[in-house]
């Protein structure tokens, strides 16, 4: 939008231009600041430091939605806390390294580890033989699997009693596979299988039980102890199946015998000197923390105070600014790319370039935006190691993915707009001696702009909402912020409502802008032109 109005600037068509670009630059700054992981100064390295500590920095990937292991407590979404975070902090200290934390979706953790985006993954992840085929694991915390249902549900004696019932688990965890194994034995016994629903975050898993959509969820005991407070006794543990292979949380690293040995040694040291014991106390992980989950009557209703404090919180404001910034900037770039592309595609000559452009448009319109984001973030570093370096932030990756994706759509809009301009216009401008550039700038673009603007603003509004996909590559935009906050408080309705207010406010603002800008094109409508002149 800003790009197209640039061409019309000489003709005084679009005034919102100046402050829009100022806003844009401001937002870009915020976005970069928000998405850059904290970097400390490297200290002296020694030979007892594992190789995944690079340049004096231990980089760790985590999905901060699993309290008390790793979660966001305050309003700063880039600062996860919890047992896991304290453990890696202690490790970094032992190794005289500074700590850099990268937060992302759970499903992104292992791909990021493989892509060398981080040296360690710690995120309340169970130590599993399956995972150890591809990665090394070192345990640091005991745990047990639990099956949790609503508070008034009677306890059950075995997993078999869940036959025919639906349970919720977090996507990317190993619980689903474990239940598949239960289902094999259930099938052998001629019973109905346990049905599984998978959700991207732990809080959504819990929410399914709270709203009664599923019978129970599967989680770890430590997590539940912590969540007691939040859940106000709304749930209880109905079963603790004793699975041999579900007893430890582990930190994961890329396969490397020496690194693995160094890590276990350091963790053993932390265990011996009481560091880990202290941390367990701090995060209520010790066994005496287990209490009966008392059955309270849940207090329903909308908590207006939470809603307003979320609405005016710095975290939401930052998230919204980042959403808006990413959307504006990537659309701006998309428009810049797409204008020459549209001009080339509209030319009468049949060139090889045209085929390349057509392929570009087809590919990037054809592939799901989510896939493109994941590809750029997780697959690209495997081909080009340069993309796993610190400068390639989630913000930048989102910008690249969305700009390319959006340009493929914008090309079609521009192309339609350009070909809607009567051919006689170019002819007349040529006959008046204007140069090619002048013909486009003063005659064709201003007319194409009028045709392109309404669909462009529609595209932008849709893009504004598409940015929410970038939470999968750990961009802390509005929806990601909302989810982290929900994980902390379980106040779904209030936080979703606050996010909705932000999205609607932004969308309505741009719809309003669209109306205002359209009024400037009165030359295309006889009645309006006359009314304006009067």
């Amino acid at each position: 939008m800003a790009a197209l109005s640039f061409f019309a600037a000489k003709n005084k068509v679009c005034k919102p231009n100046k402050w829009a670009s100022a806003l844009l630059i401001g937002l870009l700054g915020t976005g970069l600041a928000l998405s850059t992981p904290t970097m400390g100064r490297a200290q002296s390295s020694s030979e007892t430091v594992p190789s995944f500590v690079q340049d004096g920095t231990l980089t760790v990937c985590t999905n901060p939605t699993l309290p008390p292991m790793t979660f966001i407590q305050g309003s700063d979404a880039s600062k996860p806390e919890g047992m896991d975070i304290d453990v890696v902090r202690a490790l970094a200290q032992r190794w005289h390294a500074s700590l850099s934390l990268i937060t992302m979706d759970f499903t992104g953790l292992f791909p990021s580890l493989a892509a060398q985006r981080c040296g360690l993954v710690i995120s309340g992840i169970i130590q599993l033989a399956d995972r150890e085929k591809n990665f090394d694991a070192v345990a640091y915390q005991e745990t047990a699997l639990t099956v949790v249902a609503r508070a008034n549900t009677p306890p059950i004696k075995s997993m078999a009693e869940l036959s025919g019932k639906t349970i919720a688990v977090q996507a990317g965890t190993s619980y689903a596979a474990r239940i598949e194994r239960e289902n094999v034995s259930l099938a052998a016994a001629g019973k109905a299988p346990i049905l599984v629903q998978q959700y991207p975050t732990e809080d959504q898993v819990v929410q399914q039980v709270l709203i009664g959509r599923v019978f129970a969820f599967v989680s770890q005991d430590v997590e539940l102890y912590y969540r007691q407070k939040q859940l106000h006794g709304k749930v209880r543990i109905i079963l603790k199946p004793d699975y041999q292979d579900y007893r430890h949380f582990a930190a994961y690293l890329r396969k490397n015998k020496q690194d693995r040995a160094l890590l276990s040694q350091t963790i053993a040291e932390l265990e011996q000197d009481g560091t880990l014991a202290k941390l367990r106390q701090k995060w209520s992980l010790s066994s005496q923390a287990e209490q009966a989950l008392t059955a309270d009557e849940s207090s329903g209703g909308f908590n207006w105070q939470s809603f307003f404090s979320a609405l005016f919180s710095a975290a939401f404001l930052k998230g919204a600014a980042l959403t808006l910034g990413v959307a504006l900037l990537s659309h701006f770039i998309a428009i810049l790319i797409s204008i020459p592309m549209a001009v080339a595609l509209n030319s009468h000559k049949n060139s090889a370039l045209k085929w390349v452009l057509k392929a570009y448009v087809s590919i990037f319109r054809g592939a799901p935006t989510l896939l493109q984001l994941l590809f750029i973030w997780n697959a690209l570093p495997q081909f080009f190691p340069i993309f796993r370096e610190q400068w390639f932030t989630p913000f930048l990756a989102t910008l690249v993915a969305l700009s390319i994706n959006e340009s493929a759509y914008q090309v079609e809009i521009n192309r339609a707009a350009l070909s809607a301009v009567d051919g006689g216009q170019e002819l007349a401008a040529d006959a008046l001696g204007m140069k090619r550039k002048q013909v486009y700038r003063y005659v064709i673009f201003p007319q194409a702009l009028r045709i392109a603007l309404p669909p462009t603003i529609n595209e932008f509004i849709s893009l504004l909402k598409t940015t929410s996909l970038a939470s999968v590559i750990s961009l802390q935009e509005l929806l990601a912020i909302t989810q982290v906050q929900v994980a902390r408080t379980f106040e779904f309705t209030e936080y979703y409502a606050a996010a909705l207010v932000y999205y609607l406010a932004m969308v309505f603002f741009f719809l309003f802008l669209q109306k205002r800008v359209e009024r400037r094109f009165s030359w295309a409508d006889r009645k309006k032109a006359t009314a304006n002149a009067a």
Partner: protein
């Protein structure tokens, strides 16, 4: 511009060199011969009306003069300058103005801006001077009061007057008209034709494709009659309308009279 050697086989130089000299000029669209080895001169200040059936190449011919359609062989010399791929298009188009059947005004610009855009961009005329000149020409074409309207607010006849004023603002030495009245109703035609009469009296070299017989008779110094990409006759209008030399022209005139 390079010095201009006279093409071989051209008639001996006259005292006043012609404004436009066309020699063996051809134009192809792929295999199709749109203009076939044309030869004729237009003297300074002369008024030429080009006639011919539809598809005979009239538009193509006049478009070769401002190189909107480049010719493929032979030569065109305008005001002593050879027109080819080395010609500065800016210079050429400052010298040769054009008016289209469909006006082709810029709808997003006011009448005044339509007239001042190209002089400012191409001739580097200062904005104020361009506006003053535009007002003069708008007065001359009889619509000084419409300067601040948008094209869409004008009638067809008024739009064509603006188009003429816009072309004149470039101060051309040659004016090309391609059926300027074909899209107008009879009353508007009268207005536009009277403007063209005035222009003709001012002595600007004019090539005009038109079906306005009365105008051609009154104004034209010569009629160029074309068919299938060839010039069949170049004659004064009196002779052309009363006693055409070719049968093809006779048939054409008969049809013109019938419809």
């Amino acid at each position: 511009m390079q010095p201009n050697p006279l093409p071989h086989g051209s008639p001996q130089p006259a005292q006043h060199p012609p404004m436009i000299a066309v020699h063996n000029m051809s134009k192809l669209y792929g295999e199709f011969v749109a203009l076939d080895r044309l030869n004729f001169d237009v003297q300074r200040g002369e008024k030429i009306v080009v006639l011919g059936p539809s598809g005979s190449g009239k538009s193509t011919l006049i478009r070769t003069f401002n190189r909107i359609e480049p010719h493929d062989s032979g030569s065109i010399i305008i005001d002593g300058k050879i027109i080819n791929e080395k010609t500065s298009l800016t210079e050429l188009r400052c010298m040769v103005g054009m008016v289209f059947q469909n006006y082709n005004l810029f709808p997003h610009l006011s009448v005044l801006d339509n007239c001042t855009l190209a002089p400012q961009l191409v001739r580097n005329v200062a904005r104020k001077d361009a506006q003053e000149m535009a007002h003069n020409f708008l007065k001359q074409v009889g619509i000084p009061e419409q300067a601040h309207k948008y094209p869409i607010q004008l009638s067809g006849g008024q739009q064509q007057r603006v188009a003429i004023a816009r072309a004149l603002c470039m101060q051309p030495e040659v004016m090309l008209f391609d059926e300027p009245t074909a899209a107008l109703d009879p009353e508007a035609i009268t207005g536009v034709v009277s403007i063209m009469d005035t222009l003709a009296e001012q002595g600007i070299t004019t090539l005009c494709v038109t079906h306005e017989m009365a105008f051609s008779r009154r104004i034209a110094d010569k009629i160029v009659f074309m068919d299938q990409g060839r010039i069949l006759e170049i004659t004064p209008p009196e002779q052309f309308f009363t006693a055409p030399q070719t049968e093809r022209a006779q048939n054409f005139l008969n049809q013109m009279i019938r419809y």
